[in-house]
């Protein structure tokens, strides 16, 4: 009863109320209340996430599994960032309340939290993103093979997009007048044709399909037809 019926009632009432709130001007402020609930739940989820992070990494360190040193670095970075951010270590004093430490700004370049952002987070995330270029290049050489008609179409499309996304597109075909019968040979025109017609049509179909799927799944959950999210015990 407690494990199944009450969660179902909470889900059904929250779902129905939000649907009503969308259409009724009297209940429109309920959305704001629900955002407050969401923020509280998100805060609890952060705590649960942190607990899970600790449990998984501590277990990896204690059992000395391969890569345990990475787990130790993860926990060290987590602890330092948490302490520096939560207690506003070295925060720049607030002009209006210079005596109140917690009123100071901690996410500015002059504070330790700002240093973590500027000298750790930004370079690390940028590096991770930039490494994609190397892996994509390697994959293009090894895996992008014209083995059948579909692959050939994909290759042709890739060439058009790759060239038209640079100055090479205009250099190679920019001399063809835009108002001539051969304008369809311009790479920028071909790219526009691919994105505006082929890609957009496909994406619309996918989007509509997803929306219908979400609506159907939501209704199944709200009306208690789908109970897969509930505990089986």
């Amino acid at each position: 009863m407690l494990r199944r019926t009450i969660p179902m009632l909470i889900l059904a009432s929250a779902g129905l109320l939000l649907i009503v709130a969308k259409f009724s001007p009297f209940t429109v402020s309920w959305q704001e209340t629900v955002l407050g609930w969401f923020n509280i739940l998100a805060a609890v989820a952060f705590v649960l996430g942190a607990g899970n992070l600790l449990a998984v990494n501590l277990e990896q360190i204690s059992s000395r599994r391969p890569g345990w040193a990475y787990a130790a670095i993860t926990l060290f970075a987590f602890a330092v960032t948490l302490v520096v951010g939560m207690f506003k270590v070295g925060a720049v004093p607030n002009g209006m309340h210079p005596d109140i430490h917690l009123a100071g700004a901690h996410d500015v370049p002059q504070a330790p939290f700002g240093w973590i952002y500027d000298y750790m987070l930004v370079p690390l995330t940028s590096t991770m993103f930039a490494m994609l270029a190397f892996y994509v290049a390697s994959a293009a050489f090894r895996a992008f093979r014209a083995k059948n008609i579909e692959a050939i179409l994909l290759l042709g499309t890739a060439f058009i997009i790759l060239l038209s996304q640079t100055a090479a597109g205009m250099f190679l075909t920019g001399w063809i007048p835009e108002d001539s019968v051969f304008s369809f040979l311009r790479l920028d025109v071909m790219k526009r044709g691919i994105t505006e017609h082929v890609q957009t049509a496909g994406m619309r179909a996918i989007t509509i399909g997803i929306a219908l799927g979400v609506a159907a799944t939501s209704l199944r959950l709200i009306f208690g037809i789908d109970k897969s999210y509930l505990s089986k015990t």
Binding site: Q31, N39, F129, R145
Partner: protein, 304 residues
């Protein structure tokens, strides 16, 4: 970095391509590194011809009356900074050149820092003499809640943002003191790297805006395909990746040139040099990979 060649390979040109197919991946990494580094060091620049999407974005902002109230949402983080910060900078410069009153916000936790950078390096650098905090621009910062934040903004901005990013009461900031909801803005523009971002602004925010108000977006190349269906009906302008940024920068700086540190507003165009060489390398690699595949038919081994 040696190329293993334990299988029997044919002689001549065919053998060369078969061996090429077994090329160690580190040579490819080196080629990609050089194709990016050399154009950066040589400062290769190419002319940009603005496309219709960049023009639509430019026109959306340009056609607003001077001093309009605009909302800029920085929905990205440092991972996408190389791709999105150039268009964000150009966007801020464009809005400030028109004298628009700018409200900054973020749906991503680190979006606030991205906005701070644009404020410092563009807004205050080029327009600091006429932009005063509270009356001409406000930094609301990050708010947790993803699309829930947009939903609340459609009915009550003060509920989502009772204070600005520094903790000052929103009611004490003249620019947003009388703002009720999204209908108070003449333009909403999001620079977006994914969820939550441009798609959520269209789905949850568009219908609450004034009919004549504009919604534009700048996005990463990966995300753009999800946004094409919304352009131009729901999204009045769309900037796609570095190419879109370079085109938009060209339009903005031609109309509103700056007299110092102009490189800050040319970052999109600066990045187009490495992009050209890297794309040509990619095409060459794909072609060579396919030739190697054809050459290696009937032989054992192949690309590792």
């Amino acid at each position: 970095m040696t190329t293993k060649n334990t299988e029997q390979t044919p002689d001549g040109m065919r053998g060369f391509f078969v061996r090429l197919g077994r090329l160690d991946r580190r040579w490819i990494f080196l080629a990609m590194g050089l194709s990016i580094a050399v154009p950066i060091l040589l400062k290769l620049r190419f002319p940009e011809v603005p496309g219709p999407m960049a023009r639509a974005t430019f026109d959306s902002i340009e056609s607003l009356p001077d001093g309009s109230r605009v909302l800029l949402s920085f929905d990205f983080d440092p991972a996408s900074k190389a791709e999105l910060q150039p268009m964000a900078n150009a966007l801020v410069h464009h809005c400030a050149s028109k004298g628009h009153k700018i409200v900054f916000m973020a749906l991503w936790p680190l979006g606030k820092q991205m906005a701070d950078q644009a404020i410092k390096e563009v807004l205050l650098e080029y327009h600091g003499d006429k932009y005063e905090y509270g009356t001409d621009y406000v930094q609301l910062g990050f708010k947790a809640g993803n699309e829930g934040v947009i939903k609340v903004l459609t009915t009550n901005v003060a509920e989502a943002y009772p204070t600005d990013a520094s903790g000052a009461a929103a009611s004490g900031l003249p620019l947003i003191a009388d703002v009720r909801d999204l209908g108070s803005f003449d333009l909403v523009s999001t620079v977006s790297a994914g969820y939550p971002g441009a798609k959520e602004w269209v789905q949850y925010g568009r219908e609450s805006m004034k009919p004549e108000a504009r919604l534009t977006s700048g996005s990463t190349g990966v995300q753009a395909s999800q946004l094409f269906p919304y352009y131009p009906a729901q999204l009045n302008g769309l900037l796609v990746a570095v190419k879109g940024a370079a085109e938009y920068e060209t339009l903005v700086t031609e109309k509103y040139p700056v007299d110092r540190n102009s490189e800050r507003l040319e970052q999109g165009r600066i990045r187009m040099g490495p992009q050209l060489v890297a794309h040509l390398l990619m095409i060459a690699l794909i072609v060579l990979g396919n030739i190697a595949m054809i050459a290696s038919r009937g032989t054992q081994g192949g690309a590792r």
